[in-house]
Structures are given as structure tokens and as C-alpha cells.
Symmetry: C2
Subunit: 439 residues, 2 copies
């Protein structure tokens, strides 16, 4: 057995991911040392409650409530507490004491990323965060390094397992959103308060991180447009499938030319969207994640795997730990933030996408022409219309349903079109407006 | 604009990938310099024929036939010539003159990898090869770094675009192998001499590279079991789909426990296999590639994209170039070979897999019992049998077809079973024997 110098590793947070990191670090220590070229000595795990039940169990002598005492004594600090504070303070302390930091904390990165990267650059420390997006799926490193010689033009990501589970269940079983959410909660896919997931907040944090990386531009969290899935109905899901689509909530990051100037800006948004059944993302089921990347030279790439889970996320953390240890031993380039492109961040109104609009209309001659004229008057071009005449058995039902799919249009022209549709006498209801992606 | 020091880049080979690398390097030079922290000055492109047509065109003043003069003058040498010699000699010269080397040459790595890595380690040079497997798909870096803290247990890879195109076309159109190959040749997916692809040689080289990386063990090319797709018939493809499978040629790398000893060995093999239609690899169409990885903690991951093509492969080469340049400027850990695990390489006879065997048998009572007994006598457990009785209209047809899917069995017990089947009076023909993967 080779003798290595030991690097002292401090772990902040003893939740599911933390407990799995400890377990793998203790059971695979020698193998990891061989890969890292350094021993990885776990000096302690800072937790709030030493006596809490943990699976796998963490040896008692490693547990402490004194995070700061651990940090000053560590070469590498692994932050798995989550939340903004005290995580931010501890990470800054770790950086300023010369430690490299590994974090899985997407909220922290999306909110305070630039401050943390700046602090790290000042002292030559490194900040690794492969586990912050897509759990076990290697996505940060491929974007940072493998695609460093290419230009990413678009990312479509299924980056939240809970909402993919819910939408997939609605699609598979015909269930309502409420029932699918209840089932996800029962199975442990959704938390007691599911707002962060179903409201799209978690996905928006990941979108900010992915867009910043892909476009070499700081994209702050509050620049990410966000819609959740709470308004998605079982009938929308059924109608989507009938039309050859499936509804997914996507994190979409785009590099967009600004009005034919030859200059580019970036946009990041999270919302439910229809994607064609033949698109690789349509086949991502259950709580899995996948990130679909389009780049100028590389073409289309997809990265697929488990987006969450204790051992899965621990795998990504340990990959970072081996990288950090190698760099600690040998020195060299780490993962400094790359924001040299510094592109402008465009509002949602600049985004061009397709829309599917479902209307109920009165069943009389000339309605289709009226609707078509209304679209073209607002500068929105129609790609396809399908009309279903109701059988009239149920008098409370309007007479006909129109499903219109548009060519690409801006949010603003679509919004004025929908306003005009709602105000028109032949339209009895605007049933559903959904964006269409992945065509 | 920031001023950077310039790194001198020499390119060996001006084929499709080389021409695309030159084009991107010249058009995106400033952007790449910002990412690398160094200017990337292309000092020349060594080619055999200066006057050959190239797309995109390479500026004439960059072309030379004197590779050695370029090499001694370069900080980074990009080898895109392919083949073993003079590529091996030039790469060794580059390493020994202190340059870092980027190569897309899978044959070179699979054959002389250990020699090249050893030479690089001696002088502290680096050898990058993201483009050697899976074209634009980031696979080397995720395996080396993102999964460095995990244990890969299995890789199933569609790593040859030509053969995937052919098998996919046979599945989609019902065509014979010969017709599908002719179409692939016409479209430029297959070369004039398709042996390297259809014989599985190209995939075997990639399997050796992937297995070496994944298991931290040198896996020489001649240890890779190899079967091509030239024997795959349209009726096998049709029967597979009817049974819920699709036939793909896979590179399979496995970490296998040696007979309950708690010790592990590795196996690498390339052969056609049935995979269930619901498996993510079944949805990989056309000339695309995908690598499906199973790891102890991370679970299942898949990486998907274009496996070949000029711009696509150039994207991977330029990603390596930016990485190499960063390291050149800052120093630090590169991509030294990791073979510390040094596991034994197991023969094909140690591999456990499932089989689908199609037999024609005489239609008389007791045949099924005879066949079932024969399997169990040879230690092969049967999972499923389906029987089709022919209608007897065509007297030249035997009376019944049996399709048997086994539980996992060794190659050797399967081979003796098939031998016994062929020798048995009730069996008129062993129509097809295929491995089943991805269950």
C-alpha cells in the first residue's frame, strides 16, 4: 500500500447526502486515496443535532455542533447544509482560511455565486459544485471543460425530479395534479412543503447556474423567468398526448441574437412546456433528470441520470472531492468562474417560442377566419389548427374547440393576441396557453 | 481586449476534423483565449498533400509536410492523423519535447496507450483524448473526474455510428444487412472498406479505452472480445422487435466478482445484443452514439450525442485544447493514466449474460420437455419460452419454432448447451443465438 499525505476534510451537514458521503469516504478510503494521490481524512461532521437518526449512521466521534472549529482545521470543506445562512458565512470562512470548498447548495450558488467565486479567486481557493445541478449527472464539468471550445446555444433541462415525477405520473395515469402530488409526497419524492419544487423555484436556481456556466455570463436568480406546474390540469396533459406531445417543466437557457444586430444576449426561464413525444427529453420518466444541450459545433448532446438521492448526490460530491484533492497535491487550474463573455440578460419578452392555444368558440360559419385574422393582425403566424365540434348533448358545453399551434412568436405579441382572443365575441373561453419546445 | 501570452499549437493532420479545428480556432480565437487564459496561436498544420481539397479550406500558409519541424516549435500538439504510424512516433516526439498532446486517435490509444501515458508521465506532459470516444459527447472527462469518487460497475456503449446507423435502418425499414450497408455507404456513414466498423474493430478500440478508464486498469485491445454485425439478418431484427427488443452492437465493459472470492476482475467485449425497447439505448437512432454507465452510488447515467462528424469531433478537440492551455498557464493536475486498481482481465468465458436462442423443432409431444431438460442438464436456467407452430402449408418448413430466453449463464455453459441442442434429434436447426443486455 502506498503512503500518501493526508488532506483534512470537514463536512458541514449530516443529512441524507452527508451521511452517504461519510459512508463512502470511510468504506472506500484507500481506493479514493489512490485516485486522488492523497489520503482523505474526515476530521468531522458539523450538524445541528448530534443525536438525530441518520442513514447510513455517522460514527458518533465524528459529529460536532462546532462548524467553525472544523473549518479552520480543514484543507477541504464540503458544505451540504443547504439554505443561504449560515452556509454562506461558513463557505466564506472556509475560502478565507485557504480551504477548497465543495458544495451541493444550488440556492447558495444561484444567490451568492459571484460573491463566493470572487472570494475564492482572491485567495486562489477553488469552489466545486457538480452536485448542485442534476444530482449524480456530470453536467457542470462537461459544460465547463468539455464544451469550453464550443459555443452553447441552448439548454433544455429537466432539472427537478419531483415535478418530473408528478407530470410523468399525470401523463401515465391520467391523474390530477393534486393526486399526483399526494402520491409523490407519500413516496418521499415531494417534501411536506412542495413549493420550492412545484413552484419552479428549485429549477430556477439550477437554470441560473447552468446559464451562467454555459454563456460565461453572470445570470442572477432574479433574472430567471419562472412558472410552476400547479396550474397544469389533467385535461391539458391528456390533450397534449393526443396531439403528440408531453408536458414537462423545463429550465431553458438560450443565447439569443438581439434584433438582427449581430450582438447576443442570454435568457433563462423555467416553465411548463409541450415537447414532442419523439424528443429525447420526452422519454425521461419518474424522478430522473436530463439536460439537453445544443452547441454550435457539437450539435445536440444529452446527459441523463438520477437528479437526486443520497448515494447519487454523494457520488458527485466525491468526484469533486477527488478533483479538489488532486489539485491540492499538484496545484493548477481549478474551477474559477468564467464570466468573460458578460452578455446582456434579456427579458422574457425577447424570447421567441411556439405556443399551443386551446379555445372554445361558438360553432358558426366564419369563426375560423375570424380567429386566423386576429392572429395575423397581431403578428403571430399560425402553424396548425385542429377543430373539434362538440356533440351538443351537454348544453353547458360550448359548440367547438380549436387547438392552434403557432410559429415562433414573442411573449409580448402572444400576450396581446390572447387578450384580443379573450375579448372577441366568437371566443367563449381561452382554455389553455402552453409553450411548445424542442421542435 | 485582454493581452494574453500565446501558446503555440501545432496540428498534425488536415482531414475533416482537422479542417474544422482550424476553422473554429481561427474564427473563435479571441473567445477561446478568454476561456483558456492564453492565446492559441496555430503555428501550422502538417499534411501529406498540401494541394488536397479541404472543407472548410485551410489557409495555404499554414500547411506544411514537415511535421517534425512543427512539433519542436509547439507548446501543444494536436494529433488528428489517425493510424498507428507515424502518429505514435510524432506523439512521442511531442511529449519528449515537452509539449502537451491532444489526440482523437482511438487506434493509437487502444494499442499504444500505456507507452504514451508512461512517456508523458516521465516528463510531466499531458495527453488529452476526449474526441477518441463518442465524438462530441463528453465521456472521457466524466469518467475520469466526475465519477472519480464512485465505482463504475458496467458500461454499455453504442460507440460506433456506422453500425448503429445500419442496425437502426434494418429495424426501421426491414432491409437486409447488405442493403442497409449500401445505403450507409451512399450517405457517407460507412467507408469504402467498412471492415473496421462492421467487424466491430473500431468499437473494440473504444471499449479498451473506456474499460481502462472506468476500472483504473490497463485493458489491452487484444483482451477485448469482438464480434461484428455482418451475420445479423433482417429476420433476426424483425423477430427481436416482435419480442420487444432491438438489436444494437454494444461495447460492454464490466467489473465482475471472481467466483464468490470477493476479488474483482474486468471484462470488455463488443458484440450485437438484444436490448429491451424500453431501455434508453434502444432510442438511440441513426449514426448517434450513447454511453450508458452504471455506478455503485450514482446509479444509471447516460451520455448521448453525435459520435462522429467534423465539427462535432472538433468541438471535443477544442475543449481539450482549452483545458491543456489552462494547465499550461497555471500548471497542475492533468490527465495522467490511472491504473492503480490493476484488476485482472477476465476472458469472455467468465462473462454472465442472458441469451435468446431460436430453434426450429419437430412438432411432436414432449419436445418442450426434452429441450427444457437439456437446458437444465447444462446448468442454464430458462426464463421464458415462446412457441410458434407453423401452419404446415409449406412442406419445406419445420413444424415449430421455439424462442427461448435464458437467465444469466456463462458463455461456456451456453456453448455446450447449444452444441447439445444442435445434436439432438428433435432440433432441426439452431436458427439464432443472441445475447440479451440491458435488463
Amino acid at each position: 500500500m502506498i503512503e500518501y499525505r493526508n488532506l483534512r476534510v470537514a463536512l458541514l451537514g449530516g443529512g441524507t447526502v452527508g451521511a452517504n458521503v461519510v459512508d463512502l469516504l470511510l468504506t472506500h478510503g484507500e481506493e479514493l486515496a489512490n485516485r486522488a494521490g492523497a489520503g482523505l481524512e474526515l476530521v468531522g461532521v458539523a450538524v445541528r443535532d448530534i443525536d438525530a437518526e441518520r442513514t447510513p449512521a455517522i460514527p458518533k466521534h465524528l459529529l460536532t455542533t462546532d462548524a467553525e472549529a472544523l473549518i479552520v482545521n480543514a484543507d477541504i470543506v464540503v458544505e451540504l447544509m443547504g439554505g443561504l445562512e449560515p452556509a454562506r458565512t461558513y463557505v466564506l470562512q472556509a475560502i478565507n482560511s485557504g480551504a477548497d470548498v465543495i458544495t451541493a447548495n444550488k440556492a447558495l450558488l444561484a444567490t451568492h455565486g459571484p460573491e463566493l467565486f470572487e472570494a475564492a479567486e482572491q485567495v486562489g481557493a477553488q469552489l466545486y459544485y457538480e452536485a448542485a445541478v442534476g444530482g449524480a449527472i456530470p453536467i457542470i464539468r462537461p459544460l465547463r471543460e468539455s464544451l469550453a471550445g464550443d459555443r452553447v446555444t441552448r439548454i433544455l433541462g429537466i432539472v427537478n425530479g419531483t415535478t418530473n415525477y408528478i407530470l410523468d405520473a399525470m401523463d401515465a395515469t391520467g391523474d390530477t395534479f393534486e393526486n399526483a402530488l399526494a402520491e409523490a409526497t407519500r413516496l418521499g419524492y415531494a417534501e411536506a412543503d412542495p413549493t420550492a419544487d412545484v413552484g419552479g423555484y428549485d429549477a430556477a436556481q439550477k437554470a441560473a447556474i447552468l446559464a451562467s456556466l454555459a454563456f460565461h455570463t453572470t445570470v442572477p436568480l432574479d433574472a430567471v423567468y419562472r412558472e410552476g406546474i400547479t396550474e397544469i390540469t389533467d385535461s391539458q396533459v391528456k390533450a397534449a398526448r393526443k396531439a403528440g406531445y408531453v408536458i414537462k417543466i423545463l429550465a431553458i437557457c438560450e443565447r439569443i441574437e438581439i434584433d438582427g444586430t449581430g450582438e447576443y444576449g442570454v435568457s433563462a426561464r423555467v416553465h411548463p412546456a409541450l415537447i414532442p413525444l419523439a424528443h429525447p427529453l420526452a422519454a425521461v420518466h419518474g424522478a430522473n433528470n436530463a439536460v439537453f444541450i445544443e452547441a454550435e459545433a457539437a450539435g445536440s448532446l444529452m446527459f441523463y441520470g438520477a437528479g437526486a438521492g443520497g448515494p447519487e448526490t454523494a457520488s458527485a460530491v466525491l468526484g469533486d472531492l477527488v478533483s479538489a484533492a488532486r489539485r491540492h497535491v499538484i496545484g493548477g487550474p481549478g474551477v474559477a468562474e468564467s464570466t468573460h463573455a458578460n452578455l446582456p440578460i434579456l427579458p422574457m419578452a425577447s424570447v421567441l417560442t411556439r405556443y399551443q392555444i386551446e379555445l372554445t368558440v361558438v360553432d358558426q360559419p366564419g369563426v375560423l377566419a375570424t380567429i386566423a385574422t386576429l392572429f395575423s393582425d397581431h403578428g403571430v403566424s399560425v402553424e396548425a389548427v385542429s377543430q373539434t365540434v362538440r356533440d351538443g348533448k351537454d348544453d353547458t358545453q360550448p359548440a367547438a374547440t380549436l387547438v392552434i399551434v403557432t410559429h415562433v412568436a414573442t411573449e409580448s405579441s402572444l400576450a396581446t393576441t390572447v387578450e384580443a382572443l379573450a375579448a372577441n365575441d366568437v371566443v367563449t373561453a381561452v382554455v389553455s396557453v402552453l409553450r411548445v419546445e424542442g421542435l
